[in-house]
């Protein structure tokens, strides 16, 4: 059931300790900073977080990690020049890491939303990231068995939502949003604009409203030219 919510605090209020949370974004593009800040304020802890990275600088996901709220990260690229909070927790043995090739991360999230119980992919075959995994020779190649990544909640940033929860995104900020919205039981979306039903062209909708549970408008959140791009 779709609801429009006034504040990011109310939007994340139901998130329970121990939840698995998908967070959209690749680097800063598409990262729902305001929802992450609200999640930090909510006090929810013991979280498993699915994101491409493991936080940058002193904001967003990086702060959630710094404050010890994240038990486990599932991501493809945790090591960045400014991922110091993850680095510290990881070296202290205080955070678990499931490192996943980026394409497997995307495909496993997609599989969860599409009801696929597992799939074979050539990516990772013969590498340490496939150690212990089932392999099979298919279509002329050795392939590795990978399983879906489900989540309780997805936090996503989109450009606009209409009154049915249909979403459109902006440029490369689209990234993980559409597949995470489908993979999570409950998806919470921050948008910069809410438009009337019928204002989005049905041909151009990227995430149909069936995948959207909560929408909150965050003023200025589309202002993508602002701020620093790390």
């Amino acid at each position: 059931m779709l609801t429009f919510i006034d504040t990011v605090g109310e939007a994340v209020a139901g998130i329970k300790d121990g939840s698995t949370i998908m967070i959209g974004g690749f680097g800063n593009a598409g990262q729902p900073f305001e929802l992450i800040d609200a999640l930090l304020d909510s006090g929810a802890t013991d979280l498993t977080v699915v994101n491409n990275n493991a936080g940058q600088g002193d904001q967003g996901l990086a702060l959630l990690i710094k404050e010890g709220r994240v038990r486990k990260m599932i991501c493809s690229f945790p090591r960045q020049s400014d991922s110091w909070h993850f680095d510290a927790k990881y070296k202290a043995g205080e955070i678990e890491l499931e490192l996943v090739p980026q394409g497997n991360l995307a495909e496993r999230i997609r599989a969860a939303g599409a009801g696929i119980g597992g799939f074979f992919t050539p990516t990772g075959y013969g590498t340490m990231l496939a150690e212990g995994k089932e392999t099979r020779f298919l279509d002329g190649k050795w392939q590795v068995f990978e399983t879906p990544i489900h989540a309780d909640v997805a936090l996503i940033k989109a450009l606009k939502a209409d009154g049915k929860g249909n979403l459109v995104y902006r440029k490369t900020a689209r990234n993980f949003g559409p597949i995470m919205a489908a993979a999570a039981k409950h998806s919470i979306v921050q948008v910069s604009e809410i438009v009337p039903v019928g204002a989005l062209d049905p041909e151009n909708i990227v995430t149909p409203g069936i995948y959207v549970n909560s929408v909150v408008r965050v003023a200025g959140a589309s202002a993508s030219k602002e701020g620093q791009v790390a």
Binding site: F26, G30, S76, P78, N104, A106, G126, K171, R174, N175
Partner: protein
């Protein structure tokens, strides 16, 4: 491409980084769809010509990526896989991450160009992890690129700072992909890798024999 091969031949000097990028750019067939990895491979885009009509893919969700953005062009919602602000060319398209990696994983990219720590005689690639016990591992899209593209070109210096060949019989660093590399562009030579072993297409600043002395595996000179 055969005209390029005969025109380049052996040169008197090793190639600089820009010359190497230029060489790779010239070897990309017109109309190709290409993904350029983070770092040195990104420089290849500086030497692609309009006539080549190359379409660049960035795995964070775009085909038709243009040059790095400057000044007013900078838009935080438009970045490449290295998280650098870029621009959009006419005819570009955006898609989500699973669709973007499907382009790569489904074998639709003609070429990807990657850096490497090591490449083996059989085309194994090691470019994501030093294997050091205290290193934080980070793989990104490297394994998908290595496995998915029709051709994987590696750009690297032939030797480490310590003078050890990065072209090896067997990789000692953790692998990114098995038997995936088809060409290796280095400052001293261009190598073609495949099931028949390693062929040297051209040398820069050294003879074939001098090159063979640097590399601990049997090389074959190209037959034109």
């Amino acid at each position: 491409m055969s005209t390029l091969e005969t025109s380049l031949q052996t040169s008197a000097e090793p190639l600089g980084r820009n010359e190497l990028a230029q060489l790779v750019a010239r070897d990309i067939a017109p109309g190709s769809f290409v993904n350029l990895g983070i770092g040195q491979p990104t420089q290849v885009s500086n030497y692609l010509t309009e006539e080549q009509n190359i379409t660049l893919h960035t795995e964070n969700g775009m085909l038709g990526m243009g040059p790095e953005a400057v000044g007013e062009e900078i838009d935080g919602d438009l970045i490449n896989a290295g998280k650098i602000p870029v621009t959009e060319l006419p005819g570009a398209s955006y898609f989500h991450h699973a669709d973007s990696f499907a382009i790569m994983r489904g074998g639709h990219l003609d070429i990807c160009v990657l850096g490497a720590f090591q490449v083996s005689a059989g085309g194994d690639l090691a470019n994501w992890h030093t294997g050091a016990p205290d290193a934080i591992p980070a793989v990104g899209g490297a394994m998908d690129l290595a496995t998915g593209a029709k051709d994987v070109f590696v750009m690297m210096t032939l030797l480490t700072r310590d003078g050890v060949s990065k072209l090896v019989e067997q990789c000692t660093y953790p692998l990114t992909g098995v038997g995936c590399v088809t060409r290796v562009y280095t400052d001293k030579a261009v190598f073609l890798t495949g099931p028949d072993g390693v062929t040297v297409r051209e040398t820069f600043g050294c003879t074939f024999e001098e090159l063979q002395a640097l590399v601990p595996l049997p090389l074959k000179p190209a037959v034109s």
